[in-house]
C-alpha cells in the first residue's frame, strides 16, 4: 500500500516537473491535464486511496507552485472555480477508475473460478482414459487368445465341427470349410448329413440318432464330399460335452481324411491281382516274342527259358533248365561261353557273349547272349534275365567284311598301295595298315602332318607342302609323285592320288591312295639305262657304218696339216725364205688342227656312253654338227644335200647327243634308201621349222625307194629292218628318244619318190614348265 502511495507522490511530482518544464521552456502556462493524467494513472494502477491522496497532493502542489502567488498556499478567488473543477474532475476520474477497477476485479475472479473447473474436468477425463485403455488391453488379450484358439482350431488339418445337443451344426473350422467348400452361413444350423455320400447317409444317420439318444460318442467311416465334388473317405468321431452336473452341452466332432489309406488298401488288393495277371501276361509275352529269353538264379542256374528258346533247341524246359542248356552250345564255343558267363555272374554286370547254338535240326547258328541282372533295393542281384539274339546273318556279314578287309589289306600289301583319309576341317588323318608300312611307322603312331613331313625327302618337302596347301585351298584332286627318305637312308618313290569327297556329315574329306612305286621307278630307271645303252650301242654301230667317212673327216685336216708343215719346212729351206708363205701355211695348220679337234670332239660325244644333261639348244646347230660328220658319207653315196632350215628357231630342251643320233639315223636311212636309185638325182632335204608356235619340227626327206605298206607298219618296231644286215634298232631307238623328250616321230611317203621322216619337239619353255619334281 505504501508502495502505491509512493507511486502517487512520484506521479504528481513528475506531472509537476513536466508542467514546470513546459512553463519554463515554452512560456506556456502549466496545464491541469498533466495532473489529471497522473491521477488517472494512479487510480488505474494503484487504487482509489492513493488516487485521492494524489488528487489532494495535486491540488496542493498546483496551488503552491503554479497558481499566483506562487510558492504559497494562499488561494485567490479566481482560482477557486479552477480548483473546484479540477477537484471535481479529479474525483470523477478517481471514481471512474475505481468502478472500472472493481468490475475488472470481479471478472478476474470469475475467470479464475472457470479455470479451476476446467482443470478438474481434465483430471477426471484423464482418469477415465487410463481406465478405458486398461480395459481395452484386457479386451485385446482376451480376443487374441480367442483368435489363437480359433486359428488353432482352423489350422488343424482335421475337420472340426460342433453340434448343439439336438444335433444342429453350430460350428465348423476353417479346414472343414476349406475341404467342403461351404461357408459357415451355408451349413450352420443344418443337419450333419448334407455333405455325406448318399450311400453312407443312411447308416450315418442311424448311428447319429442312436448317439444323440444315448449321448454316447460316435465313430464312423463315411465318404464326405470335397469342394471339387469328389467324395473322400473320412473317419468321423463325435463326442458329447457335458457340464459339472452331467447335462449335455454340445457335441464336438472331428473328421480325418483317410481316403489315401483307404485307396492304398484298395490299390494293394488291386495290384496283387494285377501282379498275378501281369505275370501271366509276361510269361505269355516271353513265350511269344521272337527273341530267346531266359531267367536264371543269381548263381546262374536256369529257371526259365521261353517257348521260343525251347522251340528252337527242341528241348523241354526240364531238359534245358539248370545247366542242361549247355548241351545245345557248340562244343567249340562252350568253354569260352561258360567262362564268360561265370565272369559275368561274378561281376554282376550285364555283358554280351557270342556263341553258336544248335537248332532242333542240328544246325548251329550264331547267337548273341545278353544277360542283365535284376537287383533288389540293396543292390543285390536277385535274378538274371537274358536274351539270345540270332546274329548268324550279322556274323556272316562280319566275316564277309573281315574277308573283304583282309582282301583289301592283302591287295594293298601286294600292290604296295596304302590308303588314307584326311578330314579337312579337323585335320584328322586316317591311314591304312599298308600306309603305315610304306611310311615305316608303327600302327600305334599318332598320325600327324609332322610325321608325314619327316619321311618326305628334304628336296621334295616344299613341293609336297604346296600340294597340301592346294588341297586346303580348294584343290579337289591331287596326283603327284615324290620321294621318301627312310630312316635307313633308303629312298622310296611314292605316287599319291587323292580326291575330295563329302563325308556323312557333309564335311570335306580327302580320300586317297599312295602307292610305293619305287620298284616301278627302279625298273623305269633300269629300262632307261638299258635304252640308253642300246642307244649308245646303236650310235656306235652307226659310227662304225660311217667309219670310213669319219676317218676321212679326220684324215682331211690331218693330211692338210702335214702337207702344210712340209711346205713350211721347204719354204724355210729356200735361199731367201718368204715368211709370208710360211705364216700362211702355219695359219692353215692351226685352222686344220682345230678342225680335226672339232671332228674328234663330235665323234667322242657320240661315242660317249653317259647321257649328257638336257639343255636348251638350237636344233639347227645339232643338224649342222651331224651334217658335218656325214658330209663325206653323202658325197661318197652321190647324195646332194639340201638344207632348208628356219633362220631363227626357239630353243628345244633336249639331250644334244641323243638328238644328233636321231638326226644322224634319219640321214643314214635316207642315204641307204637312195642307194638303189640311179635314174634320178639322189637328193636329201633336211628342213627345220616352227610348228603352231609350240613345237620345233625337223623333216628329213629322201628321193629313195620310199615306203611300202609293209614297211610303214613295222618301221618303228624294234628288230624291224629292210636291210639285209640291219639290226633294226635304229628307228625304234629314235622314236623312244623323241618320245622321252615329249615329242613325236613319224614317217610318211613323199608325193613322187621317197619318204619323209619328221619329228617334233616341244619348245624349251614349255618343257621347262612340265619339268616339275618327281
Amino acid at each position: 500500500v505504501i508502495f502505491h502511495y509512493a507511486i502517487a507522490v512520484l506521479a504528481v511530482a513528475a506531472a509537476l516537473t513536466v508542467g514546470l518544464a513546459f512553463e519554463h521552456f515554452l512560456q506556456s502556462s502549466p496545464h491541469v491535464s498533466l495532473f489529471l493524467c497522473a491521477i488517472l494513472f494512479i487510480a488505474w494502477a494503484c487504487g482509489t486511496g492513493p488516487a485521492i491522496f494524489a488528487t489532494v497532493l495535486a491540488i496542493a502542489s498546483f496551488e503552491y507552485f503554479i497558481l499566483e502567488p506562487a510558492h504559497s498556499l494562499a488561494i485567490t478567488e479566481k482560482d477557486v472555480p479552477r480548483l473546484a473543477v479540477f477537484s471535481v474532475a479529479a474525483f470523477f476520474v478517481v471514481a471512474l477508475s475505481a468502478a472500472q477497477r472493481r468490475s475488472a476485479e470481479s471478472l478476474r475472479h470469475a475467470r479464475d473460478a472457470n479455470l479451476a473447473m476446467v482443470e478438474e474436468l481434465r483430471r477426471v477425463n484423464e482418469m477415465l482414459r487410463i481406465e478405458n485403455a486398461e480395459r481395452k488391453q484386457a479386451e485385446e488379450k482376451a480376443s487374441r487368445a480367442e483368435r489363437q484358439l480359433q486359428e488353432t482350431i482352423d489350422t488343424i488339418p482335421t475337420l472340426i465341427s460342433s453340434y448343439s445337443p439336438d444335433g444342429k451344426r453350430s460350428f465348423v473350422n476353417a479346414a472343414w470349410q476349406h475341404f467342403t467348400g461351404l461357408s459357415k452361413a451355408d451349413v450352420l444350423g443344418n443337419e450333419s448329413s448334407t455333405i455325406v455320400h448318399p450311400d453312407d447317409i443312411e447308416i450315418g444317420e442311424r448311428q447319429w440318432r442312436d448317439a444323440l439318444a444315448k449321448g454316447e460318442a460316435l465313430q464312423i467311416e463315411q465318404r464326405i464330399r470335397r469342394a471339387d465334388g469328389e467324395y473322400r473317405w473320412h473317419f468321423v468321431e463325435r463326442v458329447p460335452l457335458r457340464d459339472e452336473n452331467g447335462n449335455l452341452l454340445k457335441w464336438y466332432a472331428s473328421s480325418y481324411d483317410i481316403d489315401d489309406r483307404k485307396q492304398a488298401e484298395t490299390a494293394l488288393q488291386l495290384s496283387r491281382a494285377q501282379l498275378v495277371k501281369a505275370e501271366r501276361e509276361l510269361r505269355l509275352t516271353l513265350d511269344s516274342i521272337p527273341t530267346f529269353a531266359w531267367r536264371t538264379r543269381p548263381d546262374g542256374f536256369a529257371e526259365y527259358l521261353n517257348k521260343r528258346w525251347l522251340d528252337y533247341t527242341g528241348l523241354s524246359l526240364e531238359q534245358a533248365s539248370g545247366w542242361e542248356w549247355q548241351a545245345v552250345i557248340h562244343p567249340d564255343d562252350l568253354a569260352q561261353l561258360l567262362s564268360d558267363w561265370q565272369a559275368i555272374l561274378a561281376s554282376g554286370k550285364s555283358a554280351e557273349v557270342e556263341a553258336r547254338m544248335r537248332r532242333f535240326d542240328g544246325e548251329y547258328r550264331w547267337f548273341l547272349f545278353r544277360p542283365a541282372p535284376l537287383r533288389d533295393d540293396a543292390g543285390k542281384v536277385i535274378t538274371w534275365y537274358g536274351t539270345n539274339t540270332d546274329i548268324e546273318d550279322r556274323k556272316q556279314a562280319e566275316s564277309a567284311l573281315q574277308r573283304s578287309e583282309a582282301y583289301l589289306a592283302e591287295a594293298q600289301k601286294l600292290s604296295r598301295t596304302g590308303s588314307f583319309g584326311w578330314k579337312m576341317a579337323s585335320g584328322e588323318i586316317y591311314w591304312s595298315e599298308e600306309t603305315y608300312k610304306i611310311l615305316g611307322y608303327e600302327r600305334t603312331m599318332n598320325v600327324s602332318g609332322e610325321i608325314i613331313m619327316q619321311r618326305i625327302h628334304p628336296d621334295d618337302r616344299a613341293f609336297v607342302r604346296r600340294q597340301f596347301y592346294n588341297a586346303l585351298h580348294g584343290e579337289r584332286n591331287l596326283n603327284y609323285e615324290h620321294r621318301l627318305l627312310m630312316p635307313g637312308g633308303q629312298i622310296k618313290y611314292l605316287h599319291v592320288l587323292a580326291h575330295m569327297v563329302k563325308d556323312a556329315s557333309g564335311a570335306d574329306e580327302m580320300i586317297g591312295a599312295l602307292m610305293d612305286v619305287t620298284q616301278t621307278r627302279k625298273a623305269e630307271q633300269a629300262l632307261h639305262t638299258a635304252q640308253a645303252e642300246l642307244a649308245h650301242a646303236s650310235r656306235v654301230a652307226t659310227l662304225g657304218e660311217i667309219s670310213a667317212s669319219i676317218a676321212h673327216e679326220v684324215n682331211q685336216p690331218l693330211a692338210a696339216i702335214i702337207a702344210n708343215g712340209q711346205a713350211c719346212l721347204r719354204f724355210l729351206d729356200h735361199e731367201s725364205p718368204d715368211l709370208n708363205d710360211v705364216r700362211g701355211a702355219l695359219q692353215w695348220i692351226v685352222k686344220d688342227g682345230n678342225r680335226a679337234g672339232d671332228v674328234i670332239q663330235r665323234i667322242r660325244s657320240l661315242v660317249k656312253k653317259t647321257d649328257t644333261p638336257r639343255a636348251a639348244l638350237d636344233i639347227n646347230d645339232a643338224i649342222h654338227d651331224v651334217v658335218a660328220l656325214l658330209q663325206r658319207e653323202l658325197t661318197a653315196n652321190g647324195v646332194s644335200l639340201q638344207l632348208d632350215l628356219a633362220p631363227v628357231l626357239p630353243a628345244v630342251f633336249a639331250d644334244r647327243v641323243q638328238l644328233q643320233q636321231v638326226i644322224m639315223n634319219l640321214i643314214m636311212n635316207g642315204i641307204e634308201a637312195m642307194q638303189p636309185i640311179s635314174d634320178r638325182p639322189r637328193t636329201l632335204t633336211i628342213a627345220s621349222s616352227l610348228k603352231d608356235r609350240r613345237q620345233v619340227s625337223v623333216a628329213v626327206s629322201d628321193s629313195g625307194v620310199g615306203l611300202t605298206a609293209d614297211s610303214q607298219d613295222g618301221l618303228f618296231r624294234a628288230f624291224f629292218s629292210t636291210k639285209p644286215g640291219g639290226l633294226g634298232m635304229g628307228l625304234s631307238i629314235c622314236r623312244s628318244i623323241i618320245e622321252v623328250h615329249g615329242g613325236r616321230l613319224w614317217a610318211s611317203p613323199n608325193p613322187e619318190h621317197g619318204a619323209t621322216f619328221e619329228f617334233v619337239l616341244p619348245l624349251a619353255e614349255a618343257a621347262a614348265e612340265e619339268d616339275a619334281p618327281l
Binding site: A548, H552, N555, A563, N564
Partner: protein, 220 residues
C-alpha cells in the same frame, strides 16, 4: 724321138692341177707344191676343171679318189673321153685300196695314202710331169704332122693315104682315075709338104696320123 730333139724350144714351167672339195687340202697341196717350185692351179670340183682352160704346158692332176658328185675313177674315164690325157696322181683315204688298184690299171701314175710324205708326192708329181712332158712332146709331133697334113690338098691327102698304104703309083692312078704322072707330081708335093725324107718316113707319119682309121677324124 727324132722330132722332139729337133723341135726343142722354150716351154712354160709345168703346172700341177689340184682338184679337191676340201679347201684345207687344196691350200695345203698348193703350199706344198709352191714350196717345191711348182706352179699350181686348184679346182673345187671335177666339172670346174673340165669347164676351165687348161694351161698349155706339162701338167698333172692331183685329186682325191672320192670327189663330191662323182668318184675319181669315173672322172678318170670322163677325162679320157674328153681327150684330156692328164697324168693323174690319186690321193686315197683309208680303205680305198681296191679303188686305187683300179685307178692304177686305168692309167694313173700313182696313188698316195693321205696323209702322205712330201717326198712321195714330189716324186709322184715329178714322174707325172715327166710323163706329161713326153706325152706333150709326142702330141706336139702329131699336131705338127697334122698341120702339115692339113696343108695338103685333098688330092694330095688321098695320094698320101694310098702311098702310105703301100700302093704303087700305077695302082693309085687307077684308083684315083688320074694319070701316073699326076700321081707322081702329087706324091712329090706330099713328100715336100710333109717334110718326109723317105717313103718310110711318110709311112710312119701316116701311122701317127692314123690315116687309115680316121679319114674324117683327121679333118677336125
Amino acid at each position: 724321138v727324132w722330132q722332139v730333139k729337133e723341135e726343142k724350144k722354150e716351154e712354160l714351167p709345168p703346172v700341177v692341177l689340184i682338184i679337191d672339195d676340201d679347201e684345207s687340202v687344196r691350200v695345203a697341196l698348193a703350199n706344198l707344191f709352191r714350196s717345191m717350185h711348182l706352179n699350181v692351179q686348184v679346182f673345187g670340183s671335177a666339172p670346174e676343171l673340165i669347164g676351165s682352160k687348161l694351161p698349155d704346158t706339162a701338167s698333172c692332176l692331183v685329186l682325191d679318189i672320192r670327189l663330191p658328185g662323182v668318184n675319181g675313177l669315173e672322172f678318170q674315164g670322163e677325162l679320157a673321153k674328153a681327150g684330156i690325157h692328164l697324168p693323174i696322181v690319186f690321193m686315197t683315204g683309208h680303205g680305198d685300196i681296191p679303188m686305187s688298184v683300179r685307178a692304177m690299171k686305168a692309167g694313173a701314175i700313182d696313188f698316195l695314202t693321205k696323209p702322205f710324205r712330201d717326198q712321195d708326192m714330189l716324186d709322184a708329181v715329178t714322174r707325172a710331169l715327166d710323163h706329161d712332158r713326153k706325152r706333150r712332146d709326142g702330141e706336139k709331133v702329131i699336131s705338127k704332122l697334122r698341120l702339115l697334113f692339113q696343108s695338103l690338098t685333098p688330092r694330095e691327102r688321098e695320094v698320101m693315104t694310098l702311098v702310105t698304104a703301100g700302093l704303087m703309083n700305077k695302082q693309085i692312078a687307077g684308083e684315083l682315075h688320074v694319070s701316073e704322072i699326076t700321081v707322081k707330081i702329087h706324091r712329090g708335093h706330099v713328100m715336100r709338104k710333109m717334110a718326109a725324107r723317105s717313103l718310110a718316113d711318110l709311112v710312119r707319119m701316116a701311122e701317127v696320123l692314123d690315116l687309115r682309121q680316121a679319114k674324117s677324124g683327121a679333118q677336125t
